[in-house]
């Protein structure tokens, strides 16, 4: 087992494109770090540099304290799981798994034992004589894992290993990989564009945008305290609602004027984020969909602030009810948000009316329908504030 350290790692391609910019990360021994970001953010390139499949343009890479910039991929003691599995089509499952051991000239009986052991671990016992084309997607995925595990390497690298599986299997394999990683205790870098995978699997999550590290922290910290608009928009599904709002002083406290609504800001939050400096200024306010609730019948909850809304659209997901409505505050448009969310909600705004599209997750039995005029409550303790200029979170 080994730790990995990236010190200002960069990748410039010959055509001048910079895929990774001065990426610095420390991945502890036995940790599972998820590199996440939209496609083209450089996460795969970063992984391939760690693997040795891509030259490092500048910066240093250390594995287990050893600088490995110029060490061949075969001498880095790393195993990799590819997005397309890349199983050898002419070899059986057993041969696929055993290939690396065969190359390192291990004795036959040892290879056989380790293949058996690996197969047992992954539930592949019955499939050892099959060829890749006779396997289902999930089985192929397992074989690819087996090929990595059997090596007992210092480091696992996984490049979107679940993206070719259907949704149910993906959820299942997510758990399996995570459990396996914990059990084997191998330092792992896991690349994905799926923020659900990032949130559920990673000990820590590193969010990348255009080759630059935006934030690296535990999943809950990244979710609760995103450092900038990009992370706020990218992590979370449905994404955080963002709108322009003015912070004003009122009745000895601070309020946010979000369109025609007024939301009081708890004193604790004002202190923590240093919001006093923002009185009279426009900022971007973020509210997560689950922090908006329907008004309980006995009135408003303690820390809630009411917001009037006409429901534009409802999506019943079974476990949740997504309600889309438009508030009369100007939208927070920025390249970062568009990139993070794929521009999804803005299109809804265009087809509805002036204002900012918001989304709230309600109880599945809330009984809300399209066209309803409702009062919703915002959990004011969980407001997010961003500087519209720098796009950074205020007070971090």
């Amino acid at each position: 087992m080994a730790d990995i350290r990236l010190d200002r790692l960069a990748k410039r391609f010959p055509n001048g494109f910079v895929a990774v910019k001065d990426l610095s990360l420390e991945i502890a021994e036995a940790e599972l770090l998820v590199l996440v970001g939209p496609s083209g953010c450089g996460k795969t390139t970063a992984l391939r540099m760690i693997a040795g499949l891509e030259d490092i343009s500048s910066g240093d890479l250390y594995i287990g304290g050893r600088r490995v910039n110029d060490v061949l991929e075969r001498d880095r003691d790393i195993a990799m799981v590819f997005q397309n599995y890349a199983l050898y089509p002419h070899m059986t499952v057993a041969q696929n798994i055993a290939f690396s051991l065969k190359l390192s000239k291990r004795p036959k009986h040892e290879i056989r034992e380790r293949v058996q052991e690996t197969a047992r671990l992954l539930g592949l016992d019955e499939l050892l004589d099959r060829r890749p084309k006779q396997l289902s997607g999930g089985q192929k995925q397992r074989v690819a894992m087996g090929r990595a595990i059997i090596r007992q390497p210092q480091v696992f690298l996984m490049d979107e290993p679940l993206s070719n599986l259907d949704a149910q299997l993906r959820v299942h394999m997510r758990g399996e990989i995570e459990a396996l990683q914990k059990r084997l205790g191998v330092t792992t870098v896991y690349v994905t564009h799926d923020q659900v995978e990032a949130m559920t699997m990673g000990d820590r999550v590193a969010v990348l945008r255009s080759g630059e590290l935006q934030q690296v922290d535990t999943p809950s910290n990244v979710y609760d305290r995103p450092t900038n608009l990009f992370v706020a928009g990218f992590i979370g599904s449905p994404p955080m609602n963002l709108a322009r709002a003015t912070i004003e002083a009122e009745n000895g406290g601070l309020v946010v004027r979000l369109g025609s609504s007024t939301i009081p800001v708890p004193a604790e939050l004002v202190r923590d984020r240093g919001l006093d400096a923002w009185i009279g200024r426009e900022s971007i306010v973020g509210i997560r969909p689950e922090d908006i609730e329907g008004l309980p019948e006995d009135g408003r909850p303690k820390d809630g602030a009411p917001l009037e809304a006409t429901i534009d659209r409802v999506e019943a997901l079974g476990s949740d009810l997504l309600a889309f409505f438009t508030i009369d505050a100007p939208p927070a448009t920025s390249a970062a948000i568009a990139e993070a969310t794929g521009g999804g909600l803005e299109e809804v705004a265009l087809i509805t009316r002036e204002g900012t599209p918001f989304c709230a997750t309600f109880e599945p039995r809330a009984g809300i329908r399209m066209g309803d005029r409702v009062e919703v409550t915002v959990d004011v303790r969980r407001l997010h504030f961003f500087d519209p200029e720098t796009e950074q979170a205020i007070g971090t």
């Binding site: 499949l53 075969r74 195993a79 397309n84 199983l87 050898y88 089509p89 290939f99 192929k140 090929r147």
Partner: protein
């Protein structure tokens, strides 16, 4: 109403399709006829007796079917091709195998284990394809003489191997370009070096390219006349193409024997197509990737 109209439309379309197909098949049949006519003449003449085989009656079927011409062409005293067919095999088998093997290695390195300047090297290799045989006749002979290369067939084998490298490299390079890069990289991560990757991962999935290249090389080497005629001096080592050319008598031309000999000389290439054609393995790569 609507179903009727729909039916009518479908029928109309179907009829139009059949008519187009008829036209297509007629055109194809015509082209096939044009190609096969000379073969017909060849075939009927080869079964005629010596006196009957005359250009003025080329189209007629033989009055008496006879195998004499075939016997003469096979191992007759004057025209027998058997020893030359053996020479041709001695030439074509090693030359095909070696040039295909080299093409495979070149193609792999130039497409999947690239080195700086690989494109330039490939470009130079391709130039080789555009150099006509005639242009190298004298320098090639000179080099053979200077290095004292073993005379006869070995020279011819060598010449064909070298001349085959551009085309075999091109075929394999294109084929290997379709092998997913992930597969090569997986081998690299499994700690395979260049040769091991080639041997264990690339070669086993190369069968389709080997078949195509082998057919191509076999045919062109078997059919070559020019290299053979200027490189091989010793008549005992002539390949069949040169020997065939010499079945033309100085005073009399025994057309029936010549036709039989021509057919005999072209049989091996036909057999190769029939045998190897079946091994055009499709979907060998299936299962390597997601599915």
């Amino acid at each position: 109403m609507t179903t009727v109209a729909l039916d009518h439309g479908v029928k109309l379309r179907r009829r139009r399709r059949t008519r187009a197909q008829v036209v297509k098949y007629l055109a194809l049949a015509f082209v096939a006829l044009v190609v096969l006519l000379p073969v017909y003449v060849l075939l009927v003449a080869s079964f005629k007796s010596g006196t009957e085989a005359d250009p003025s009656r080329a189209w007629a079927l033989p009055e008496v079917w006879s195998l004499d011409a075939w016997r003469e062409a096979w191992n007759g005293e004057q025209y027998g091709l058997f020893p030359y067919l053996k020479n041709s095999l001695k030439l074509v088998i090693p030359a095909t195998l070696l040039s295909t093997m080299l093409g495979s290695l070149n193609g792999f390195v130039l497409s999947r284990w690239r080195f700086p300047g690989a494109d330039l090297v490939f470009l130079f290799l391709l130039f080789g394809m555009f150099i006509p045989y005639q242009a190298v006749m004298i320098p090639l002979t000179q080099i053979f003489l200077e290095v004292d290369f073993p005379e006869g067939l070995p020279r011819l084998v060598f010449a064909h191997i070298v001349y085959g490298i551009p085309i075999t490299t091109l075929i394999f390079r294109s084929y290997y370009a379709t092998i997913p890069e992930d597969l090569i990289e997986a081998a690299r991560m499994d700690r395979a070096g260049m040769l091991r990757t080639y041997w264990s991962v690339v070669l086993p999935v190369s069968a389709p390219a080997f078949v195509v290249t082998a057919i191509w090389q076999f045919t062109s080497i078997w059919n070559d006349f020019l290299f053979a005629v200027f490189i091989v001096d010793d008549p005992a080592q002539w390949p069949v193409t040169v020997a065939l050319n010499n079945t033309t008598g100085s005073f009399v031309t025994p057309y029936n024997v010549q036709m039989a000999a021509a057919l005999l000389a072209s049989l091996p290439t036909l057999i190769v197509y029939i045998l190897l054609g079946r091994y055009f393995m499709r979907g060998l790569m299936a299962g390597a990737l997601k599915g």
